[in-house]
């Protein structure tokens, strides 16, 4: 083990805009060459911790610091953001948003340009860096032409171009990535670590996906304090994760539900190396026998029907011969990798885009000639980013907008808005300015503003992106309630948990074609579909195989219904 490179000593930090400190009394040492995962739910202070390391705190985000933070033996408050960036390289979470250059080479060169490196050595270093991260054959490509995986490589290259870095900091590298690209990103970090032996710190809340990388240590933060600092195996054997509402790997969770105790020696950090004892297997088998099939009453009346729908955009075929039917009262997921045409399909259904051929029927009537406005009375669309939807200052006005524009009487507006706000849990805030709401509340507000028009179908684009388990459960349970009230819901998503736990059917879209229309369990255990749609096989399936369970799919179903009952008790 190397020398300490980072040392927090009784370190606290409070943003000027906040009353309570975000980090409290952190004492932590990280050694050179270590791979460390910093894990915590939203608002736990893990991002602030990262910002303390790269200098955004206190140089960009001001606040009060107490205690000591030394990096490479120097106190950070005596340094500045530029000298820190020579030691700590940061890869931000939103890859698309952090590209500055237009071409691969130009973006990677950005730091060098700012360091006034002359043209000739600059091109040489950029060339070397592109080789290091494996994009040398794409050096002159425009970044926008690249796939998600290559973009990851470019953003890493832009940081590694600073060759003397001691430490690489990844701020939620898995956010916004589909499961396959997420896996790829973690492997890439591992490769770089093996080549360069720099210290690696990853900030994440998606534990199971992050464990692709073999960490030396996992530090769990909650409410600004360190609650655990131990090896991955030790952590998975403990019950810390439950307390801080971090989703633990599904396979260890299943073992715990079945009554087993996990021992660190069983190597639980990777499902393929996990040693199951005979008792473990037995318990899993007996546990799953309690499975009772929950039939959700669906009156199976076709609501939305697409027949041979095609759509082209600038002479490029985006959707090809799509045909499917959605029953009234269903919750279904629409999955596929980025650019597969999921959002376009939603826009075609809502009339934002005009399809080139085919028919769309709602309740047996063709709607494909109706205007956006008219279709909106029956089909609502909620964008991923609530900021793109909100146009008023007050919560009440935002929800009332659609009704007022439909010339509904003010008395009726008030009645309906109040009712919707109650359903969405926003009634107490109805006279508040929208800016006072949290992200999750804003999300609910945008749903409310659509819901008030009483549509029969709501389409939601990635409703849970970037949310930790607690907020995920909150949002999804709320949407499920709406479903029970009779609203049919379509989710555009690549969150496999959402798919598995909340939807009864998954439509898999690949390059604008529908390749599967099956139950999520079937999709997530089919290797061909998984690969084509950039998904990942659920680890529950691997566990079931390992435990020699007779019917792995039934095992997965049992886990899901059991897990949801447990999580219901949180609220």
């Amino acid at each position: 083990m190397g020398k300490p490179i980072i040392s927090f000593q009784q370190f606290s930090f409070k943003y000027h805009s906040q009353v309570e400190p975000t980090l409290k009394n952190i004492t932590l040492t990280i050694n050179q060459g270590e791979k460390v995962l910093i894990l915590g739910p939203s608002g736990s202070g893990k991002s602030t911790l990262a910002h303390c390391l790269n200098g955004l705190v206190p140089f960009s985000f001001k606040g009060e610091m107490t205690g000591k933070l030394t990096i490479k033996g120097k106190e950070t408050k005596d340094l500045d953001i530029f000298s820190l960036s020579k030691i700590v390289g940061t890869v931000l979470q939103d890859t698309d948003g952090q590209f500055i250059g237009l071409s691969v080479g130009e973006d990677i060169a950005f730091t060098l340009e700012n360091e006034q490196v002359a043209l000739e050595p600059m091109h040489k270093i950029v060339q070397e860096t592109t080789q290091l991260v494996g994009v040398d054959s794409h050096i002159d490509y425009s970044i926008h032409e690249l796939s998600g995986g290559l973009k990851q490589r470019v953003s890493l290259g832009g940081v590694l171009v600073e060759q003397d870095l001691d430490l690489l900091l990844f701020d939620e590298p898995l956010a916004n990535l589909d499961p396959a690209t997420g896996q790829y990103a973690m492997k890439l970090i591992d490769q770089i670590h093996q080549k360069q032996e720099k210290t690696v710190i990853v900030i994440e809340h998606r534990l199971e996906d992050a464990l692709q990388l073999e960490f030396d240590r996992i530090i769990v933060i909650d409410e600004g304090e360190i609650v655990s600092d131990t090896s991955p195996n030790q952590l998975l054997a403990s019950n810390v994760l439950d307390k801080v509402h971090i989703r633990e790997p599904l396979y260890t969770k299943a073992l715990k539900y079945s009554g087993s105790v996990i021992h660190p020696d069983q190597n639980p950090q990777h499902i393929d190396q996990f040693l199951l004892t005979e008792t473990n297997k037995e318990r899993l088998n007996t546990w799953q026998e309690h499975y009772q099939k929950e039939e959700k009453p669906i009156d199976s009346k076709p609501l939305l029907n697409l027949d041979q729908v095609n759509f082209s955009y600038e002479d490029k075929k985006v959707l090809t011969d799509l045909s499917f039917t959605i029953q009234r009262g269903e919750m279904i997921s629409l999955v596929g990798k980025n650019g597969a045409g999921k959002s376009t399909l939603a826009k075609v259904i809502c009339g934002f885009e005009k399809h080139s051929s085919g028919t769309i029927e709602l309740d047996g009537q063709r709607i494909d000639q109706e205007s956006i406005f008219k279709r909106a009375n029956r089909i609502g669309f909620v964008l991923q980013n609530p900021n793109q939807m909100i146009s008023k200052h007050l919560i009440f006005d935002e929800v009332a907008l659609g009704l007022r524009l439909r010339n509904v009487s003010e008395k009726e507006v008030e009645r309906r808005v109040h009712k919707v706000l109650q359903v969405c849990g926003l009634y107490p805030f109805r006279n508040w300015p929208i800016s006072a709401l949290s992200f999750g509340q804003k999300k609910r507000l945008t749903v409310a503003s659509i819901l008030v028009l009483e549509p029969e179908i709501i389409i939601l684009d990635e409703p849970t992106a970037g949310q930790d388990l607690k907020h995920f459960t909150e949002i999804m349970d709320f949407l499920e309630q709406l479903n029970h009230l009779g609203v049919t819901i379509i989710f555009i998503t690549h969150d496999m948990h959402l798919m598995l736990e909340y939807t009864s059917r998954a439509l898999v879209l690949v390059d604008g074609q529908l390749i599967a229309d099956q139950s999520p369990v079937d999709v997530l255990t089919n290797d061909l579909w998984i690969e084509q749609a950039h998904l990942k096989r659920t680890s529950l399936f691997d566990l079931a195989i390992k435990a020699e369970v007779e019917d792995p799919k039934q095992f997965i179903n049992h886990f899901i219904s059991y897990d949801r009952k447990v999580r219901k008790t949180w609220q």
């Binding site: 500055i100 955009y313 826009k347 406005f373 146009s391 524009l405």
Partner: protein, 276 residues
């Protein structure tokens, strides 16, 4: 989809080979010359030259027709305005009056006025192709480098080129946001009264501004973490060292500029007067 108004057109032409810096300097010299002189002979020569240069760039006129239409529209407005506000400008300048016909009061049509407005129009035609060429044949990456090289602060240069970069993204956001608002019932079509329509446009601007602010936040963090603003100067990856072609082009344009200035001012008047 929003029409491609102005952007980089990838071609392999002599004009594209020139460095952005050269093109910017030539553009500045060219437009100052065209601005200063009213010598019709010079303007005609420059006009022919600018047509040749445009031809060399291998960009088709129809590819930039929307911008051209826009410029022609302003040219028309400008001509109407000149005539409305000073119908006797030509007479004042050239010192004679050949009246073709009279309309009302001081609004008559003289050969002098026509000739004067012909010169103004010609100026547009001289400057427009060269200005457009600078924008559409300079790779966006080189754009900032060229601005910086003529002395504009690199922070402003980058801001300009980032703004150009993000324009397509913002256009896309704008479209999505307006579709979502239309679904809620906001009407942008001509059925709505103009005041109401303006108000409705504001309902798109708010979400657009807020989501763009998010973008700016991320990019500025990324830039700061990668040492942006550390030094007073910076270098440019996309900068191209000046080639022989660049030097020749620069020398020729400077020479031309000097000749134009001498010819224009040698007799103490910027105007060529065919009426003497």
């Amino acid at each position: 989809m929003a029409v491609k108004m102005l952007g980089y057109f990838e071609r392999s032409s002599v004009i594209h080979q020139l460095s952005g810096f050269t093109k910017l300097v030539i553009f500045l010299l060219w437009s100052s010359a065209a601005m200063l002189t009213y010598d019709t002979r010079i303007l005609i020569i420059l006009f022919i030259l600018s047509m040749i240069i445009f031809k060399l760039s291998k960009v088709q006129l129809k590819e930039i027709r929307y911008v051209l239409m826009l410029i022609l529209f302003f040219l028309l407005l400008n001509n109407i305005a000149i005539y409305l506000f000073s119908p006797q400008e030509g007479v004042k300048i050239y010192g004679s009056s050949h009246e073709l016909f009279s309309i009302y009061g001081r609004y008559n049509l003289t050969l002098e006025q026509l000739f004067y407005q012909f010169n103004v129009t010609l100026k547009y035609f001289v400057v427009t192709p060269v200005a457009l060429l600078f924008i559409i044949t300079t790779h966006p990456s080189e754009f900032a480098a060229s601005l910086n090289k003529i002395g504009i602060s690199y922070k402003i240069s980058i801001a300009v080129s980032l703004a150009l970069r993000y324009l397509p993204d913002i256009q896309r956001d704008f479209r999505t946001i307006s579709q979502v608002q239309q679904a809620r019932g906001v009407d942008f079509s001509k059925n709505e009264k103009i005041t109401k329509r303006l108000k409705n446009v504001v309902s798109i601007m708010m979400p657009l501004i807020f989501s763009s602010l998010d973008r700016i936040d991320t990019i500025s963090q990324a830039m700061e973490l990668r040492s942006f603003g550390k030094h007073k100067k910076r270098t440019w990856y996309s900068e191209r060292p000046l080639s022989k072609l660049d030097w020749y082009s620069l020398l020729i344009s400077i020479f031309l500029f000097i000749v134009i200035i001498i010819v224009t001012f040698h007799d103490g008047s910027r105007f060529y007067n065919p009426f003497n």
